[in-house]
Symmetry: C2
């Protein structure tokens, strides 16, 4: 069954859990009123699609998220994966949910891209998947990794590899992983030591330990396709010596059939603060016992060329980073909606002007401090979702826009924005989750409510797929200067275009447009200062501040865009959008002032702090 067929059979009436995952109204606003994604249906790749088919698929994602994923979110957290007799045991609901998802054809919707057209625009698939992430980020991880894995093989594998692996992955018969980190090397990929020895038949034998491997072992599928970074003998040191290998848990014959088990051993599970439902493993490749006369090592196949492994992996990583940002936004969003519902129904205390202590108590949303916490959450989570969907649309534009200049510009913009799409939601939607706890008071700290789990789950997002600090190095050390600053220029052009429209619109919009224009100008100055700085270390010492300033500028832009769409349209929804935009411009954007000062001064405090002074 394809997703479209499945969607046609689904109904628009959702159970009530759906309404506390994301806001259907907001998703429609972002996709159609703002991003105008309906126009993608005109592109040759998506012929036969229309807003109706997009909506049907989105409704299907939402239904599956609400019906199959949300229900076991807390249970998956309470009963985390465990090992019995060397086999990983999960709660049974995980398999059921994943089967519902894949059999509806939704995993296949996330696979594609040049050279093979996607079945569905990337932005629609990302929006749909966000429902699932909001419902159960841990179970969603299996899907995210498998889609990214299939996309990598599709983009860089040989036709034979594509044929042998991709259909099994996109149908959910097999799942996939990405294996980068080793116990001694996480962020420092240049130090990976897993080795791959070429064999006479063209295959390789792989030896080494890999850690933090999400979905690294389970019995959900017949096979697990590991994508492993390793070095061939004589490879250059550093990242240039890395090659990429497909190393399946069960060896796959040339005919695509499953042969015997490969030498991939589960060394142990890692127990985490959150994201507990997703297996996280330490794996050994090639260290198993060898039968007499047998050959040691895990059987692997090279993807593409030797020495290009990291570049290939990065195509997967970049996609994964957008998904991480989307997951962070989704967790923030569902926490916001749950705390909003709590604030509307929890009756306690009186308004300040009520003098009678026996007067009727009010829902806590009436208390200004609670409303301030809800408004902050709204500004964070709706800003983050806008950013994520904007980024996803850029991927569609890069891959399918008929105009080559627009394609190139979209690609540049997405390159620049990827570290921000990953890091901003990870930082600020975690903050939203903390506020969601605070709105609940003591109940928010109790495991009877969902929000504490969202907070624990979301804390991972600033760590995995490249830490916050790594994103900062990527943005400042690579993205802002790439192609002689063409990416940064494209970003400035886009933001300035919005500012100009805002100024032309007049009123408070004009004021916000002028403010954003001014802050962008300061960011530009700082960027030039950094680029010109002789001391690379002092620039890098301030990279995180730079990332955070850039993030606030970009999300300010996202809010100005939303405010322009809302205009002076009547109704509560648009009034809420305007108020959240005002909040961002009044309370959030000004916080970059002191940070810009730190950047202008090229602050040396951390650099000059000697290790013995701590």
């Amino acid at each position: 069954m394809t997703a479209r067929e499945a969607a046609a059979g689904s109904t628009d009436e959702r159970p009530s859990t759906g309404s506390r995952l994301l806001s259907r109204r907001d998703v429609a606003f972002l996709l159609y009123e703002w991003l105008d994604v309906g126009r993608l249906a005109d592109r040759s790749q998506y012929r036969g699609h229309s807003r109706e088919t997009f909506d049907d698929v989105l409704a299907l994602y939402e239904a599956i998220a609400a019906d199959h994923f949300a229900g076991h979110n807390r249970k998956g957290d309470a009963f985390e994966p465990s090992v019995h007799g060397g086999r990983v045991r999960l709660i049974p609901e995980v398999a059921g949910a994943l089967a519902a998802y894949t059999s509806a054809g939704l995993l296949a919707c996330q696979v594609g891209g040049p050279p093979r057209p996607r079945e569905l625009p990337y932005v629609i698939a990302q929006a749909g998947f966000a429902w699932v992430q909001a419902a159960n980020i841990a179970s969603a991880a299996y899907l995210l990794l498998t889609a990214a894995n299939a996309n990598l093989i599709l983009a860089h594998g040989s036709p034979a590899q594509v044929e042998r692996y991709v259909p099994a992955l996109e149908s959910g018969r097999w799942f996939g992983t990405m294996c980068l980190s080793e116990p001694h090397a996480g962020s420092s990929l240049g130090d990976l030591t897993t080795r791959a020895e070429p064999q006479v038949d063209g295959t390789y034998r792989v030896f080494g330990d890999k850690c933090w491997i999400s979905a690294g072992d389970h019995e959900l599928t017949d096979n697990i396709v590991h994508l492993v970074l390793a070095r061939v003998p004589g490879a250059a040191p550093g990242v240039k010596g890395l090659s990429l290998f497909i190393v399946p848990k069960v060896v796959v014959g040339l005919d695509g059939q499953l042969h015997g088990p490969n030498d991939v051993t589960l060394v142990g599970l890692i127990h985490k603060m959150g994201y507990r439902g997703a297996t996280n493993t330490l794996l050994n490749f090639g260290g198993g016992r060898v039968e007499p006369g047998g050959k040691p090592g895990a059987v692997g196949e090279l993807v593409g060329e030797e020495g290009r492994g990291l570049a290939y992996m990065f195509s997967m990583m970049n996609e994964a980073r957008i998904c991480v940002g989307a997951g962070a936004a989704a967790l923030g969003y569902t926490g916001y909606l749950k705390s909003l519902e709590y604030a509307r129904t929890r009756i306690q205390g009186r308004r300040a002007q009520e003098k009678d202590p026996a007067g009727p108590p009010v829902p806590i949303i009436e208390h200004p401090d609670v409303r301030a916490m809800l408004l902050a959450q709204k500004a964070y989570v709706e800003g983050a979702l806008a950013l994520v969907l904007y980024g996803a649309l850029l991927a569609d534009e890069r891959d399918t826009n008929p105009d080559p200049r627009t394609r190139r510009r979209a690609g540049l913009l997405l390159d620049v924005l990827t570290p921000i799409v990953k890091s901003w939601p990870s930082q600020w939607c975690l903050r939203a989750n903390s506020l969601a706890i605070q709105v609940h008071g003591g109940s928010g700290y109790a495991r009877d409510y969902d929000v504490e789990q969202h907070y624990r789950d979301n804390r991972l997002n600033a760590i995995h797929e490249g830490t916050h600090g790594i994103q900062a190095l990527d943005l400042l050390g690579r993205k802002m200067t790439m192609a002689h600053g063409a990416g940064f220029d494209a970003l400035c052009d886009a933001i300035q275009g919005t500012c100009k429209r805002a100024v032309a619109a007049g009123g408070e919009m004009a004021r916000f447009g002028a403010e954003l224009w001014a802050v962008l100008g300061e960011l530009g100055e700082v960027t030039r200062t950094v680029a010109a700085a002789g001391d690379k270390e002092v620039a890098l010492a301030n990279a995180t501040v730079y990332l955070e300033v850039s993030g606030h500028v970009v999300v300010g832009w996202m809010w100005l865009e939303q405010m322009l769409v809302a205009g002076d349209r009547p109704g509560a929804f648009y009034a809420g959008k305007r108020q959240a935009a005002r909040y961002f411009f009044t309370r959030e954007l000004p916080t970059v002032g002191p940070q810009l000062q730190v950047l202008r001064a090229m602050d040396r405090l951390a650099l000059d702090m000697r290790r013995e002074w701590f």
Copy 2:
């Protein structure tokens, strides 16, 4: 055995865990070089004490923290309290640790104050207890509540109540609780409905449900002394109608002997995100089955006068709030030290100027971003510990300074500072714990390391004993205006005194002094604006921002004080203090600028946000 006797028998050689709880060097700096607490030994109440005896007791706290509390911190989290046959089961290490603590006489050190002199200055006891909080905040909770409970009875109970309860509490034979919240009323204490019916023999019978009761049930002690807020028949509505009752789990006769069980029933345990080792309960009073001919209700004794319950409870709450701030600081501190150790020993990556990918990798403390995260943590946790100890010393001054004017001034200052002592560490040492996770990378998110637990544990501190928002209302709505602003004036005087000394010292200290002076002036202006504002709601809508600005001003002051003490003394320790102070003044204090702007404008965004706009 008294604490002093126990201390005399202890040794100064600590196992290595001790060194990752707090810094002995920093505690000594704060207590002696800065606060000069040695002078307290001259006061009549502490005759016989000296710096040596203080040091001996501090070493004893540290030893017991390291030897008895740190070891089961993670186990207490993994195996949280559970109920079997109506009885609460804890891991056995909790009882052992608490017995070690109480039998060394340390609990008794935390009990006292007017009218009965303390055995030890409050600031010393607080510093000592911080070692225990750093080691195991959950197990420490039993002690904190028991000491506060005993102190309340000491201050407000009848001589007979003092005689019957305090010795059992301070020796650790019985433990205590505070019972405020009810399922329908947490922050809104005016709505409590638990009732207390007077009996002919002068006792009361208590009926109602109480929730979030930490240490509410266990078998660690023969008895549990609950202090319960309830209303007598005909009491006024609101908080003025609340009275305070001693309601022990086991009825205590007039002779102090244990009689039969009281009608206090464990309804259930609350399972939390952190602080898991501490039992948190829902209790019912007076709803149990009554024997034929028996009388319903839980037997209670009135403390002090009817209708004064909340005032009495607040003397306990204020002490508990300082302890919460201390606990938050302690959790931040131990997380900082653990991430510092990790950063010094974890080898990964190369310095930016190293071009050779095969060059030797370095400890991650060499990476500027890691060092920046450590420096931020140092600024937060050492600033927070300074604030907590300063607040504790104010309690000593209020209670024991020979000069009545100084006593009064210390009392005013402590009143104003209490919401900040509680809230600032809860906010910023949680941030420190998040950075400690980030320094560890993926390991920080794994439960094999301590830092994720500290982060979970610390998240409670902005909630219990009055939420962050409640502290803000207390500061802005009560403390800043009490006694015609005398508390705020005392605070300004104190801060300005430090600024003047800094300006006189010249150099960068003069610059920081002038900056703090200027920000304080702006805070003063805003405070006057708020006080003069006709619309109380708009002021309260900005109370949290006001609390956070005030907190940063106060901690800036704490750092300026420390910098003045460090002066230009040689050595790594003082260099580190100076650098952390610079960090606070360069990176943290300027962040109040945009917040002051919000306050000046008396921002109405949250207030004007209608509930249907969300």
